[in-house]
Symmetry: C2
Subunit: 152 residues, 2 copies
DNA sequence: CATGTGTTGTAAATCACGTTGACGATATAC
DNA sequence: GTATATCGTCAACGTGATTTACAACACATG
């Protein structure tokens, strides 16, 4: 492990800018859920998979709509969908009406994984809530949903 | 531009999980500052550069300490430092006492860029504050600093 | 009906940013 | 003086995104 750090003390750091704060938070949450899933036996699940899963709770959509919602190109989605399909979490269905596009639908295994992920996330949120206080946490979440939540 | 989206309507989306909320927020802030810098004429500045800059406000440190603070390997920092050095934003100084390690110090151009970035960020925060309300924003920031701020 | 325009799925090359592993040089503790 | 740890440096690699390209289908308009 010649690549990691050990003990050295951190120096004094002035107020961290919002850029690093938000990124640290996002990384913390993502890492927490991902580690929880891996510990629960779900190997092979990556950040991209989990992100896609989070934007798929709505059930079934065409993959381009997902990409649009996530703010990334549909080509990026495509690879992730393929990978999750190979893992047996998703299925691609032909749309009988629009031969143009296909529908992304979760398999039973996919649903089970999503359920598990939500449980782990709930645990993380609870521990976070306990640490920073209930109403501060409520305002934190409210701010997130107000600005970056669905149907802004 | 066959890779982007145009008008399509977004479908109904249930409550977004904290994973996507935090990631969306982080992406929004980072993108905002980065776009502002590019519009201001600072080309060639990447996300990694900006992130490094945010953890460098303290003035001068050895690069390994920066990596430690950012939670990434010192090898990852090294490349970014090199790039910013090539852009004339940073300088690597030999530490006369510890021949072992070097000091990362900002050039005048670097300071100017940092100043500009902070100004853009302040503008973003202000507009955000105006949209979601002052005290909600205050709690939002307080939560971020309490949990993921410096010297937790 | 024919034709242009837009959206979708698919594929490949490339880029950005991180990791791991390895190595020499220096600092430090025994 | 020898063992151990840290730092800087280099190379290989993985992952997740972008860009470019193209064929197929949808739809509006002539």
């Amino acid at each position: 492990m010649s690549t990691r750090f050990t003990k050295d003390a951190l120096e004094t750091v002035p107020p961290a800018p919002l850029t690093v704060l938000t990124q640290t938070a996002a990384h913390w949450v993502m890492r927490g859920v991902l580690d929880g899933l891996h510990r629960a036996g779900y190997a092979g699940i990556s950040e991209a998979h989990l992100a896609l899963l989070g934007n798929l709770d709505c059930g079934t959509t065409k993959s381009a709509a997902i990409g649009q919602r996530m703010g990334i190109s549909r080509q990026a989605i495509y690879r992730t969908v393929r990978e999750m399909q190979a893992l047996g979490l998703l299925r691609l269905e032909e749309d009988p009406e629009r031969g143009n596009q296909k529908l992304v639908v979760m398999t039973a295994d996919g649903e089970k994984l999503a359920l598990r992920a939500r449980a782990i996330l709930a645990g993380l949120e609870q521990s976070l809530c306990r640490r920073i206080g209930a109403d501060r946490y409520a305002q934190f979440r409210a701010a997130l949903e107000a600005e970056w939540g669905p149907a802004e």
